[in-house]
């Protein structure tokens, strides 16, 4: 610790260079932290899937519906406990022009509420809340984040306009908030607080019974038989007008997410490229800084500073830059994510955008490692440098 003031004084000497390197490092850590959090949120649904739940959709594509007549057939299949219809509504709060406001988009589904909520214990509701929702055809169940964002309370009335043509009926759908579900972060850490559910019946009736079923969710008795059950379901609808594709909820989400490409690969590649660039920038800065101080290093060694101590001092400088940049980057990332709900386009992933402690530690460790690596070459050069040749060169 007695060498820290010495290190800090050197960093202060070229404060513009030090500050710009710290800011570059902070930007790198900020980007990596934020992108990783978004990625985690995006793929978070995978973690909260249940192998008890099967998703049945049209084999051709998710955009093609399934007939209503499949429901009793599915419910009658051995091993199926309950079936719920689930339609992606794709609605947004209507703007002045009547078009849905997609900047403040949030996931909303029309569901068979009773079986659906039984299948999904993730939605924390009291019996009274559940009953209130079930009893109102226009009732909406909303997440706490939506309540906070839009200022909705139980009893609030709001409208949604869908982006999906069959659900556009010439006027927006009107809902009454009947309950705000609770999110148990201990049991379901990735469950979103931004989902809205309403009654499938309301959708069906409002579209003059033209709407069909987007997907069926089936809860099965024995999760170990999920694959066999999926095969059995699909074979029972073989050669029909609407053949099915049945998957576990996890497989379904993975396939759905794959529609946008390999987001993890893209974002991780960006993160890696940024980290590598910053490493190069920091290494260059450190090399310049040490090259300018060759004489000083020679003097330190003459005074009796060992080569190892000189190496440590150089690495110390690099680590201080890395740590400062890392701390700033983590701070910026946490700040942005804490305000993410109020930033348009940032809340559509469903899961809460929170910098996890593990990611926070990883970001700080990464910044220290980048700092360490950036200082390695000049530090080794200072370690190896011969006193007399350095004094002669200057």
């Amino acid at each position: 610790m007695k060498y820290l003031p010495y290190i800090l004084k050197h960093l202060r000497k070229n404060w513009i260079r030090t500050l710009s390197t710290i800011l570059a490092m902070a930007l790198c850590i900020f980007l990596i932290g934020t992108l990783q959090t978004l990625l985690r949120a995006f793929y978070g649904g995978m973690d909260r899937t249940s192998t008890e739940r099967l998703v049945i959709r049209n084999r051709v594509s998710l955009v093609f519906p399934l007939p209503l007549s499949y429901e009793p057939r599915l419910a009658a299949m051995p091993g199926v406990k309950r079936v719920a219809k689930v339609n992606w509504f794709g609605g947004g709060v209507p703007t002045a022009t009547g078009a849905p406001d997609m900047k403040n988009f949030f996931p909303n589904f029309a569901v068979d509420a009773e079986p659906y909520l039984t299948m999904f214990p993730e939605y924390g509701l009291t019996d009274a809340e559940k009953r209130a929702f079930l009893d109102d055809r226009r009732g909406a169940l909303i997440g706490p984040d939506l309540a906070q964002k839009f200022g909705w309370r139980v009893g609030s009335v709001f409208q949604l306009e869908s982006t999906i043509p069959p659900y556009r009926v010439g006027r927006p759908f009107e809902y009454v908030v009947k309950a705000i579900y609770k999110v148990d972060r201990q049991r379901y850490p990735n469950h979103s607080g931004s989902i809205m559910l309403f009654h499938w019946k309301y959708l069906h009736e409002s579209t003059r019974q033209r709407s069909q079923v987007g997907t069926y969710y089936a809860q099965i008795a024995n999760p170990t038989q999920a694959a066999a059950m999926a095969r059995a379901i699909d074979s029972s609808f073989e050669n029909s007008d609407a053949e099915t594709k049945t998957e576990t909820e996890g497989q379904f989400l993975a396939g759905f997410l794959a529609l946008v490409g390999d987001l993890a690969l893209i974002l991780n590649s960006i993160g890696l490229a940024v980290a590598f660039t910053i490493l190069a920038v920091s290494a260059n800065t450190m090399s310049m800084s040490i090259r300018e101080r060759r004489k000083e290093i020679a003097v330190l060694k003459t005074l009796g500073f060992s080569s190892t101590l000189v190496l440590t001092l150089v690495l110390g400088e690099a680590i201080v830059i890395g740590a400062a940049g890392g701390a700033l980057g983590v701070g910026l990332s946490a700040l942005l994510l804490s305000h993410a709900a109020s930033i348009p386009g940032f809340n559509g992933f469903g899961a809460a955008l929170v910098l996890s402690p593990a990611l926070l530690v990883a970001m700080l460790a990464l910044s220290a490692v980048i700092g360490l690596l950036s200082g390695l070459t000049p530090a080794v050069s200072a370690y190896r440098a011969n006193i007399t040749s350095m004094l002669r060169q200057v």
Binding site: K2, Y6, A298, T302, L303, G304, S306, S307
Partner: protein, 234 residues
Amino acid sequence: MAAVDVQQVRKVYKRDSQEIVVLDGLSLEVPEGEFVALMGPSGSGKTTLLNLIAGIDRPTSGKVLVAGTNLGSLSEGQLAKWRSRSIGFIFQFYNLIPVLTAVENVELPLLLTKLSKKQRRERALTALKVVGLADRYKHYPRQLSGGQEQRVAIARAIVADPAVLVADEPTGDLDAKSAEEILNLLQTLNREFKKTIVMVTHDPRAAERAHIERHLEKGVLAHSVTQREAMARA
């Protein structure tokens, strides 16, 4: 016992395929408490000899003993530790660390000791007092004159109380008045603090302050006992 005992030292540098002999079987003995001036033309090997005595370079062959320690027997780490305790080096261009104040510069060698922060500061201030710069302890090198910078460098050289001071043209970058002050200071350190001093210089007036003058020519010591040496021996 001799403070410095250089025995049959050869120093050869290799430049490409060429071998350049800088010191050729040189021997030199400096008794404890002596003030020796090494003179000679450029390229005669004065600074190389000084570097060998200071333990910042190693001879190709031969032995260098300083304050009883055979420097050739020490590893790089041991040699660094030895330098921090036994040698005070004074450079021609002062070589103070620009981002540190005068007292922080003087304190540098003490960072390698187990002294507390307070003790380090006290010793550094004492060393600055010896060189007459106690009132400038907070000044940065850029705020000091050349002579003052060299005095701070001398304070840094003596702060760890080494037995031997080596000075490489300590007045080479100074005006006549400042050079005079520095030479007076070195004389004081030699007389009153009993420091053995080996000084490389081109300046005959500086050399006159030493008890002994040694002249180097092409890596060989030309033995020259001055009157001052004879007087000192008497």
